[in-house]
């Protein structure tokens, strides 16, 4: 539901704000351009996405993703305790994380979606703790080499486009750690609330 509120909120705010600031015409054309931009974006990423899905398939068939995922698994087991013994889900998550680390966003997304679909089978319609953790981890960047940003810096005449790497790693590590802590904390808080609500009901 959150996305519904966000989406409706964005549209209503832009209409009100556009009318108040006299940008109504721009909002109207934005509404038409945006839909096309969605399709454009899909078409522009289609090649990369299909290519990386193909490369990941080679990784999968040759046992390479299994090797990589075995390296990551001890950490991921702790993050996703509900699926620690589901090798199919753990394989997909670890492939997703390794693709994220390599900066292959277009390869990471389909893998992450695959993991999300498998996870949702346990609790259809409701995001489980593990699914929330997966989404939080994927919405925080853990990319080791931010190539796009580096190319923007190079275009702007930077003397060393990659000199921001240590700062990027530091900021990414902080962001991911805070995300994981927040997800754990919020899920515990939510559980406390349902427990106390149940007690309250029983008492009355």
């Amino acid at each position: 539901m959150a996305m519904s509120y966000i989406w409706v909120g964005m549209v209503v705010i832009s209409i009100v704000c556009g009318l108040l600031t006299g940008n109504g015409q721009a909002v109207a054309s934005g509404a038409l351009e945006g839909a096309r931009a969605g399709v454009d974006l899909c078409i522009s990423m289609a090649g990369m996405l299909c290519l990386w899905m193909g490369v990941m398939e080679i990784m999968r068939r040759s046992g390479l993703s299994e090797k990589l995922s075995r390296l990551l698994r001890p950490i991921l087991r702790r993050l996703y305790p509900d699926f620690a013994h589901d090798s199919e889900v753990m394989d997909t998550i670890s492939a997703n994380v390794s693709a994220n680390l390599l900066g292959l966003g277009n390869a990471a997304t389909p893998l992450g979606l695959e993991a999300a679909r498998k996870m949702s089978r346990k609790s259809p319609g409701v995001a489980s703790d593990s699914l929330c953790m997966l989404v939080v981890c994927n919405s925080a960047s853990i990319q080791l080499i931010p190539t796009t940003v580096a190319s923007v810096r190079a275009a702007a005449g930077s003397s060393a486009p990659f000199d921001i790497l240590p700062a990027v790693w530091l900021a990414s590590a902080v962001s991911v750690s805070v995300g994981i802590c927040a997800a754990t904390l919020f899920s515990r808080l939510g559980r406390l609330k349902t427990v106390s609500a149940r007690r309250h009901l029983r008492r009355n």
Binding site: N23, C42, E57, R61, V135, A171, S175, V176, G179, A183
Partner: protein
Amino acid sequence: MDLFFTMLVPLIIGGIGLWGATRRVNVYDALIHGAEEGLGVLLRIVPALIALLTAVYMLRASGALELLADLLAPALRFLGIPPETVALLVVRPVSGSAALGVGAELISTYGADSEIGRTAAVMLGSTETTFYTIAVYFGAAGIVKSRHAVPAALCADLAGFIAAAWAVRLCF
């Protein structure tokens, strides 16, 4: 080093292909099969992209983002984030391409090796398009109740932005 980074993507593709071939995997068949699956994934995320980008384009055109930037400036100064980057903070969780546009503009206006330019670059490199990610993931998994995913992801974003500003100050 720069050559290594520019060659990274082709090296990964080549390396994986070579590895597969030595393991007697039908590399070409795997590639085609995977790509075919990619089309299916693409088809599933097109609707979410269309919906989200429509709202983002309207929001950008309405001037609401600039208003928000003026409103947030005092709070940002308190957190140690340069207020010049406010538009980037607002756009970053919503649209990757818009954030790249805003960031590129900041980098070229203030200079790639300036503090603001570096901060913008680190922010872009250390955060993700949160709302897009949430929409696509929950869309694919058929999730209606998102529970604590949105607040937790936004905490990570905020931490990333603050850390980016402080990391640039620390490293340079």
